[in-house]
Structure formats: C-alpha cells, structure tokens
Symmetry: C2
Subunit: 451 residues, 2 copies
Amino acid sequence: MNQTSKVLPRIVIIGGGFGGINVAKAFKNEAVEIDLIDKRNYHLFQPLLYQVATGELDPANIAAPIRKILWKQKNVHVALGEVTAIDFDKKLVCFDGGELDYDYLVIATGARQSYFGHDEYRVHAPGLKSIDDALEIRRRLYLAFEEAEWEADEEARRKILTFVVVGGGPTGVELAGAIKEVASETLPREFRNIHCDMARVILVDGGSRLVGPMPEDLSARAQQVLEKMGVEIHLNVHVTDVTEDGVKIGEETINAENVFWAAGVQGQDLAKTLDTEVDRGSRIVVGPDMSIPGHPEVFVVGDAAHATDAKTGKPVPGLAQGAIQTGRFVADIIKQELNGNAPQERPQFSYYDKGSMAMIGRGNAIAAIGKIHYGGILGWISWNILHVMFLVGFRNRFKVMLDWCWNYIWKTRRSRLITGDPKVHIKQLYSDHQPPDVKPGKKNQHETDES
Amino acid sequence: MNQTSKVLPRIVIIGGGFGGINVAKAFKNEAVEIDLIDKRNYHLFQPLLYQVATGELDPANIAAPIRKILWKQKNVHVALGEVTAIDFDKKLVCFDGGELDYDYLVIATGARQSYFGHDEYRVHAPGLKSIDDALEIRRRLYLAFEEAEWEADEEARRKILTFVVVGGGPTGVELAGAIKEVASETLPREFRNIHCDMARVILVDGGSRLVGPMPEDLSARAQQVLEKMGVEIHLNVHVTDVTEDGVKIGEETINAENVFWAAGVQGQDLAKTLDTEVDRGSRIVVGPDMSIPGHPEVFVVGDAAHATDAKTGKPVPGLAQGAIQTGRFVADIIKQELNGNAPQERPQFSYYDKGSMAMIGRGNAIAAIGKIHYGGILGWISWNILHVMFLVGFRNRFKVMLDWCWNYIWKTRRSRLITGDPKVHIKQLYSDHQPPDVKPGKKNQHETDES
C-alpha cells in the first residue's frame, strides 16, 4: 500500500560507520528519502578505539551521535535498531522496530571481532571493535595493576602483570605499545609496591612480520621500536588455546591474566541469512560495482563486503578509507541512475591507496604514503594530524588534540575509571588468590625507615 | 607482630570522597603512614553527576583517579577494595584484599541512594549516586527518545516520553530541569516524528516546597522557573509504588516508562555491622568531636556520620562542604594528638555555612550566601564558577568549562552514547510494544510532499 503513494525514491542504509555515513551524506541535495538504521546511536571512529581502551581518550571523544551528524539533512531518517532480515524480492528490511521498504539498499554493517571459530576465547580475551569492548579492556588493564599492588606472591603477581596481545596488525601494535607505556610511564609513580619493569607485554602474531599490509621496512622498524620499549614479540606462532590461565602458543603456555584479542575480523551474522554468497569471514561477495550479483539495487560497502579491486585484482582493504571510498562510489552510481544520466555500463571500483599509518609509542609512528616510508617523530606528527582531521566534529577534534598534548607533556592518562560493578569484579579477582600476607604497611614503613 | 616493628603512626581512611581525600591531604607533611581504601579507583565530584546523566559531561571529566590525586604524597598507600569488617578492639580493618591495622581510623564511606525500605523500586527507578547510575539514567533517557520516534501508538508514546523525577532536593531539581532542556532544546531538531512539547517531565516531592534546605524565596523562584520551562511539579505527595508502568502517588498513577530517583540517601551497610549506634538512615552517630563514643581513635566524617552542629544543634548537612569541613576538623585533632600539642579537651565541630546553590536551567540558578539570596543569570554564573573551582585537576576544569560554553552556545549535548548491550535493551523495550504500523517513510514523505 505504501508503493502506490510513493513519490520519492527510497534508499535504506544499514550501518552508520564510515561507509553508511558517507553514502547518506552524498545525497545531501538529492530528492530522495533515506532511512539509516544502526544498532548503536553513535558513529564510532574505530582507529582511536585503542586509546579509549588504554585510558587516553574518553569514549565520547571518538563517537558522535548519528542523529547529530545528519540532523541538518532533512531527507535522512535515523533509526536505532537491529536488522533481523532482508527480503530481496519484496525489497524489504525488517528490524526490531518495524519494516522499511527500499528502491536501493546499501549494506554497511562493518565487521566484528573474529575468533576464527573459537568464540569461547572471547570471555578471556576481549576484542576491540566497540566502545563496550574498549571499556572492558580498560577495566581489566587498570584492575590488574590494582590487584598486583596487593598481591604478595611473586608468581601470581607476574601472571597478573603479564598482558598478551593477540594479533600484530595496526590495532595489535598500537594496543601493545600503549599498554607498555601505561605500565612504564603512567602508573609506576602512583603505586608503592610495583615497578615499571614488572609488567610484561607480549605481542603474538601468526605471520612472519608485524603490520603485514604495510611495507617490510616499516614492519622491521615497528618491531625494533616495540622491542626497545620492552614489548616481547612472538612471530610465526599460532594461538591454540585461551583460558583464564593465559594463552597456549603451539605447545608453550604463557601464564597471563589479561589477554586482548586484535587478531581478525569477520562480517556480521546477518550476511549469512541472505540468499547470496558470503566468504569464510562472513563478508558478502560483491561484483566490481559493489552490488550483490543478481540484485543491482543492493550494494555492500566497507568491511561488510568481499570486494576485489578492479585494477589490481587485490582485495579492497578493511580500512576506514576502504569504507569511505566504496560508500562514495556506490552513492555516485545510485545518483546517476536516479537522475537518468548513468553510463550504459556501471563503473568498476578501484581503491585509491592514500597510505597507511600505525602508532607505535610516544613520539613514534610509522607511515607509508605511496613510495615514501618514514617513521619516528615525523610519522608521529603525521599520524596525529591525520587522525584528528578525520574525527567527526570540531569539538571532538579540539578535545582530542588537547588530551594528546597533555598526555604527551605529563606522561599521564586521565580517563582510567574502572566502571561496572566493582564488587563483582574485585571479589572474583581476589577469590583466585590468597590474601597477601605481607601488609602494605610494612612495605611503606621500610621505605620510610630508609629515607 | 607488626606492632613491635612499628615506627610511624598508622592512619586508615575508608573512602576517597571529599571527606577521605581531605583527611589524607592534611597529612601531607606529617610523619605518618596512611592507607586509603576505596571500592572505586576514582574520586567522584558528585554535584555534577546529573550532567553526566543528561549527556552534558563525560564521566572522566568529573572523576579523577585517587592514586593520581595523591601520587606525590609518599606517605599514602591507596588500595582498591571493599571493607568487609572493622574490629575496634584489635584496631583492624578487613577488606577483600587483606587486613590493615591502625592507630587512627577515619570512616568516610559516604552515602548511597535510599529507597526508604523499598529497594525493589531500584530496578524501575535508578538513583544518581555513582558513575554507573548516571550512565544508566543516560541510557534510559536517550533510548526513550529513540523508541518514541518509532512508536505509532499515541498512548504508548506518551508513556515513553513521560519522565518522573522523585525528590525535589537540589539533585532532583537539577535533573528535572536538565531533562526538560534535552527534550525541548537538544533533541527535537534531530528527530522527525517527535516534537518538543511531547515530553512530560514531572517532579515529585513529599515536602511543601522544592530544595527544602534553601531559603523559602529561592524555593518559590526555583518552582516558578521550572514551571515556566514546562516541568510539572507535584508537592506534598508521597510515592506509594514504583513499577514498570510508572509511579503511584497516593491513589493516582502516573504512566511513565522512566522514573529517576533522587529522593533520599542513607549510609553504607558497613555501618550496621559495627558495634556502635547508627540512625535510621544507617549513619553512624558520633560525638561533638566526630568520633565514635567509646572509641576516640575512630572518626566518622561526611555523609557517613550522623553529626550535630555544636553551636546550632542542627544536623550537619550532607553536602560536599560538610564532608570537607569534618574531614579537615578530624585531621587537625589527630595531628595535634600525634604532635603532642592537643588541648586538654577535644574541640567540637561546628559547620560553617558557605552558602548553597542549585542549577535550574539554561542561564538560571539559585544561590543563598549568608543573607544574600539571588538567582537568574548571576546565580548561574556563580554556580558555574564555584563548581569548576571545586573540580579536581586543572584539565578537568578546563574541559568542563569548554563543554559548558559549547553547550550553552549551541544548545547541544555531546556525550550521549547509549552504551551497554543494545541488543538486550532494545529487544526488551520493543517487546513491550507492538511494532509501529505507520512506517517512518510515510511521515517523511508527507513532509516532503508539502514542502
């Protein structure tokens, strides 16, 4: 019944990440009706998520309400909800708040953490794909130091202060570096019983080098810097088990209370419910025009798509740039077709590599822009400028810059609240250990005696 | 065994709020050993908690890690943990991480929300005493608007957009005013189906006027301003039930999906386990020197104490100033006794009223300083200056000022992420209602047709 009264073309976008937002924005001045649906009410700047996990930034600094981003664009209607089914024949999207019909559909659902078929690892090794993930890592990270401060048993304390990061991609490298910094710069001066060299940070990857997609010389550089900082790097090894005791690498077990997972991503489960091909990582296989074979009105952009670069034949990388570029590409096709000026054949997507970067530590980042590879303080400056530029909202940009400068000068991290129900967590933690038989009073007292 | 080797006097402080922190700081240059234990790792600036609940400020802006506050004071040892028992005879504090012995003990455990014996209300009516409380209110508040946007049934929508605040003290007044502002200023321009006048905010109090402890003329002023903003005020009424349908006031039921509780406080449960008198609100009854009768080495400060002003005979008010002043008073007594220059009789505590204030809304606050009562923009400016001054940390002060200016100019609120597991919450919400039979597409389309 809705069909008969329809006057404007209807576009439904699923997901408010880089892909979805960029599609919506491209229709700013077009006579269309857009529904953008997301299961969260905010757009998240994922590249900075590890800084929330390590207490450097506040969640709200890297997330902006989707409604706020699009409020001036009157042809967009935002919905908070989770899509439960898509009916390609009826051109209908069902979500937990109702149904939406479409003329064009853009699936921009992004990726979630992949445990390569071992979802049981998750409880022991949180991933880093959402604000809630980041807050969970932050909670575990800072709780570990609190716990270690009161743990008298040397071996138990060593286990508490051993952090394993699984996955040596940009996220894993950035997370491992940041944890080491927290352990060696931010915290030691505030604790009385633990020292900077007590915390072990171990970075594990199955490949032969770190940050695989970046050039080899930068991988080597990243490894060198991290090792100099004190991060232990294990390459060419695969995690075979994760338990509350730590991780198993081949036959070796690393005793660690905290394991963080940055190893892989996969598409959302929704993909598997669709009547179309998905790859092993639940990414939807699309044609060179980013549409689903047999359904030219359904596009997939960003991490949700298994797409091949039409020029190089390589997979389109799962980066913010990939989502932005595929989003804009798809929006152009739809606009042309709606305006009746489409070419006879649809264009084919080709990724334009603007370069890639990874932060390693204080004043050090690596960057590859075309054939130019560099690192050190210059890399660090570029990294900071680039990431601030891409943040949504002037105020976020300003506040993030302010935080970075402050943290850089004072070597501190401000946003390290341990939230959630502390009773549950603390009790759970302490129940694993004997109460310390050395009283902190003693320790303090010796220090006072000596001075 | 610890007793024999002891060289320095040991002070244990339970709680890192205004009371506890001020006791610890007073011993900056003293030869003592202090253990400060708190169940959270941060000091919280409670007067601004309602601004976190309404999305104006980030949690980290009003909370500072206790270790960070005290890191330079080498005679303080901070512990994260919950005290389970206190043995007055053995002078021992037991917590989930071990035991601490003391020569002086300061109990500064603060207050928690009181439901006046009806703790079953809590699940339907979260209080506002912790960061987690504030985030729960924020989640419910912003989720309500998302839900209302897609709710087609008029009555159901009215229920979703009815917010009841129980308690007309400063917190209740500030919360009600802020919610009304969110509904009428921040959100309407971002939604397509709901309008500013749809949201009802109802403030309920058992007393005959708002902000009871403040002068009558200011109560009247607060009521006038709030009513002008559109807040409905019910005085002299008692809540007799809170369910998922709303609140019952006497025989009348107000249908409301969101009820927030700002009605009363009580001491922690720990107080009841001690071998000393507590009042009906679980506050520990102390003598005029703030110590527990029969235990001159055990003091109670701030909200945890039931104390009487030695000069006026009135109860010491449960405000930040009360905690700061009792904390400093107690620290002075201990210092004098340790340094051997104590007067023959201990001094008696008397509260110095520096005044009180409450924010009502945009550009409007009430203030009573001595005999001077004022409000409006002048009150608002004083309120802002005072609250920024008392925040811990230069950066927090700067960032809060920045946020306030920004919010004031743009009438927006930035920190309104709906965190927690959205699947659980959204499903739960929507299962209560029929899916809307009016599609949002229709609404949009009419608007487009007309324009």
